[in-house]
């Protein structure tokens, strides 16, 4: 069942910078004025990339029916890739009245028999939490019977936000999987990538570079993840938190339990990618490794600069406004600057205090209420490009400037050096495209009076 003590601890994470001030991301949602996903969604997003495990959602139909096969998180797993499949116990009225224990147990047995997964994650949801199904008991009995890990994730939607759900998923992985297997060999420069989900293959943009330097990725949570490798995560030498801050508790606990230090990095843009690689290498305090890293970083940057030349030509002197949320408010800003764009303003209305602090270092104007501010700023600064969600499209059309939808599900990766070229390509395509001013052309009947 839901562990209230654990939730309280997660919400007051001592390693969070903002904990001493205001718990901005951890407040209770306000009825009628809330957007964003629930804890279950957060847990699901964090764990779905484990392709060799089945993800069984113990719920009625909204929870999974609207949420499977929604995210492009590619996997190199050569067995049946469960990332894109949906498993649901389909709780009905009958189960609400008589309990869903039997159905859950049968479902787990069916999955083990027909799908032979490496593990099963069972997701508790609001309804099954309310009816009080004894998921832990069923899971531990099934685990004994079939000798595969069955991990119950206690993150029903109503306990909180997506962010909290990610944390709860992290806790479940830490308690049930990490440290349950010993690796064949322990690599001196082994790392875990935490909070990297390999969306559109972001992770694959930089893992080959890490390998070239001599760093081994022991496990990931959970981009292109495998159950067996996360079980050996305790033998890594360093935890690397990628962008998302939600799994900081997991990293703090791994430091306490296994003595693994952690660092936090971002792989968006040239500067951040190079800094990320340097921070990872620096953590090992190995001179040879650092030297090698510098050589490879220099090579990569040079190759990238050559590739970016034609795009920079187009984007020279262009000004942009960025209206998005969370860490994107600074990570994309930094990437845009790397391709020669002047970022006039960025939105901070959905960012955490920490994100705002970082955003300040990159962008001169921070918009608290972008919907009201951006149109004016476009005029005042002669902005050429608006990067925002679909809601702002009309602002761009009205101002006849280029528009890039940064909130839409990405099709290509913007991560690391390779991704920066993709970003440059997309922004250039938008700048060159006549569509925005054509669409804004007045209709033949506009301005006519009857």
């Amino acid at each position: 069942m839901v562990n209230k003590k654990q939730i309280k601890e997660l919400l007051n994470e001592s390693a969070c910078n903002h904990s001493e001030q205001k718990k901005s991301s951890c407040d209770r949602p306000k009825p009628g004025a809330t957007s964003g996903g629930c804890a279950f969604e957060g847990a699901q997003i964090s764990l779905f990339p484990f392709a060799d495990a089945v993800h069984l959602v113990h719920a009625p139909s909204t929870c999974l029916g609207a949420s499977w096969e929604t995210r492009a998180t590619p996997s190199s797993y050569d067995g049946e890739n469960n990332t894109y499949l949906g498993y649901c116990t389909n709780v009905t009225l009958n189960d609400v009245i008589f309990g869903g224990n039997k159905k859950l147990e049968d479902s787990i047995e069916y999955i083990i028999k027909h799908k032979k997964p490496k593990a099963i994650f069972v997701y508790e949801t609001c309804v099954t939490a309310m009816i009080g199904d004894d998921m832990d008991n069923i899971a531990s009995r099934m685990e004994l019977k079939y000798s595969i890990p069955i991990v119950v994730v206690h993150a029903p939607g109503f306990v909180g936000s997506k962010n909290l759900g990610s944390r709860l998923a992290g806790e479940a992985v830490l308690d049930k999987l990490v440290g349950t297997k010993e690796p064949n060999e322990i690599h001196p420069f082994g790392i875990n990538l935490i909070g990297e989900y390999n969306v559109t293959g972001d992770m694959w943009q930089y893992t080959p570079i890490l390998e070239k330097i001599g760093i081994k990725v022991v496990s990931t949570l959970a981009g292109d993840g495998r159950i067996e490798s996360i079980q050996t995560a305790h033998r890594a030498k360093l935890n690397v938190i990628v962008c998302a801050k939600s799994l900081i508790t997991l990293c703090r606990k791994m430091e306490e339990r296994f003595g693994i230090p952690y660092i936090s990095v971002s792989f968006y843009g040239k500067r951040d990618t190079s800094n990320a690689l340097r921070s990872i290498v620096a953590a090992f305090k190995n001179e040879e490794l650092s030297k090698k890293a510098e050589i490879i970083i220099a090579e990569e940057e040079e190759a990238l600069e050559t590739k970016l030349l034609p795009y920079k030509e187009v984007l020279k002197g262009k000004k942009a406004i960025l209206n998005t949320g969370g860490n994107k408010s600074w990570s994309i800003a930094s990437a845009l600057q790397d391709i020669g764009i002047e970022v006039v303003a960025t939105s901070i209305n959905k960012s955490t205090l920490e994100d705002i602090e970082i955003a300040k270092q990159y962008v001169p104007i921070l918009m608290k209420s972008p919907a009201n501010e951006q149109a004016k700023l476009i005029d005042e600064h002669n902005v050429d490009i608006l990067l925002a969600g679909g809601r702002s499209l009309y602002t761009a059309i009205k101002k006849k400037i280029a528009f890039v939808d940064v909130n839409q599900e990405k099709k290509v990766s913007y991560g690391a050096y390779g991704g920066l070229e993709n970003l440059a390509k997309d922004v250039c395509a938008a700048v060159k495209n006549p569509v925005f001013s054509i669409v804004g052309t007045p209709a033949p009947w506009d301005g006519l009076h009857e």
Binding site: V2, R28, P29, K30, P31, G32, A33, T34, S35, G36, G37, C38, A39, E41, L56, A59, P60, S61, T62, C63, L64, G65, A66, S67, W68, E69, T70, Y84, L85, G86, Y87, C88, T89, N90, V91, T92, L93, D95, V96, K103, D106, S107, E109, Y110, K113, C126, V127, A129, M130, P156, G157, F158, V159, G160, G390, R391, L393, Y394, E409, V439
Partner: protein
């Protein structure tokens, strides 16, 4: 061992159906009574399907209010916060599995709030029914709670489309009825709200649709036309507001015979001898299309995995050209399934559909079918919710003479291109 779970579910939930119904009402704020995720999932789902912003708010029930609040606090708090920012003409309040499990009295809350705010409430737990029933229950609630009883009738018709009809299909049916001289009101009307038009402002409320005052006046309709078995009862419900109102029901309006039945009824209802010339032209084109495509479609084995009313539409069109429905996988139970011409009618999921794909040439289902069609090398026509892949699916039209004609060509072309590549 019977499969105790769903694998790759086809079923969508009742609250999602309720949301779609409320989105066809002008300046409406759909308010989902549940945890924030219920609304967020549904919002993202339809935003990606329609490629347009979707209006919805949540009562954001949390683990504490789930236990100590009977809905009074979270609903009235939500209404307060919504109306502080926008002025909806209607608040569409609907429940979820969570709030039905705790058993909230939404009728009581709505009656307290109603003098001040216009609220329609409906019970739509997601552990019962599916997309169609959630949508239908919502229309019934709207009729019950908003439509005023009448005894006189006017020269107008109410159209009640089923949940799987696209915005363009709703518009087309309205236009066809208008060609017979009627004013037409669709309940709900997504043809102007979810049709993907570039609007001046993308507000927090539903952008267009039937207005509350138009709904209130539907009782004076000369007739109500229901399309799809799932909404048949909605027509009965509306007739109960006026004993002089007629009810015309069609399980489907796809294919030659079903379209004939539709226009035939309209002709006698409207006392005209010949319909508009364009209708007659399209009938001839459909005749020609049936003959042109029958070489490819004759004997073609098809697997359908859809919402029931949409399944009836596709089978109605395709079997006229000689196609065989190898298996019909339905998301939920429905009366519509009784008449399906298939030996395998299954209430199930896409995992069930897989069993028939080895022996079939064509699969018609939502975008989740893409992976299956690759795995089994079948031709694929994407229809239904969700479709995150293809653009413009709000403007697909598979009904009446014109839509059926174009659907036949689309399917035949898809199958023949597919056969060249495999």
């Amino acid at each position: 061992m019977n499969k105790p779970l769903e694998i790759n579910p086809l079923k969508l939930s009742q609250p999602m159906g309720a949301l779609l119904a409320f989105l066809g009402i002008k300046n409406c704020m759909p308010l989902m009574h549940g945890a924030q995720g219920c609304a967020s999932f549904s919002k993202v789902f339809f935003t990606r399907h329609f490629n347009d912003p979707i209006a919805i708010q949540t009562t954001a029930v949390n683990d504490i209010t789930a236990v100590i609040d009977g809905g009074d606090y979270s609903i009235s708090e939500a209404v307060k916060n919504i109306t502080a920012k926008v002025t909806p003409e209607l608040i569409g309040l609907f429940t979820t599995g969570l709030t039905e499990t705790k058993g909230d009295d939404i009728r009581g809350v709505a009656s307290i709030l109603n003098p001040q705010h216009n609220i329609v409430y409906v019970h739509t737990p997601d552990f019962e029914g599916g997309l169609e029933s959630g949508y239908t229950k919502t229309i019934e609630a709207i009729i019950e709670q908003l439509v005023e009883p009448q005894d006189h009738i006017e020269k107008k018709i109410t159209l009640i489309p089923h949940v799987s009809m696209t915005p363009l299909e709703v518009e087309r049916v309205k236009e066809q009825i208008e060609l017979f001289g009627w004013s037409v009101f669709a309940l709900p009307d997504i043809s102007e709200s979810l049709d993907g038009h570039l609007g001046l402002k993308q507000g927090a409320l539903s952008s267009n649709g039937i207005s509350v005052s138009e709904i209130q006046g539907l009782g004076s309709s000369h007739a109500v036309i229901t399309i799809g078995a799932s909404v048949r009862n909605c027509g009965e419900k509306l007739c109960s507001k006026n004993q002089n109102m007629q009810h015309l029901h069609f399980d489907t309006i796809g294919g030659l015979r079903a379209s004939d039945a539709f226009y035939g009824e309209l002709i006698s209802l409207s006392h005209v001898l010949r319909p508009h010339a364009s209708i007659m032209r399209w009938r001839k084109r459909l005749q020609d299309a049936l003959l042109d495509t029958h070489f490819i479609l004759g004997g073609l084995k098809v697997v359908l995995a859809c919402e029931p009313d949409q399944m009836v539409l596709f089978s109605s069109i395709l079997t006229e050209a000689g196609a065989k429905i190898k298996a019909a996988i339905s998301s939920t139970k429905s009366d519509a399934l009784d008449k399906m011409p298939s030996s395998h009618i299954i209430i199930g999921d896409l995992d069930d559909a897989e069993r028939f794909l080895d022996e079939s040439t064509l699969l018609i289902t939502n975008f989740h079918g893409e992976r299956l069609s690759k795995k089994y090398k079948t031709a694929l026509i994407m229809r239904g919710f969700p479709d995150y892949e293809t653009l413009g699916n709000q403007l697909k039209d598979d009904i009446l003479y014109q839509g059926s004609t174009q659907f036949l060509f689309e399917v035949a072309n898809c199958v023949s291109v597919h056969s060249h590549h495999n």
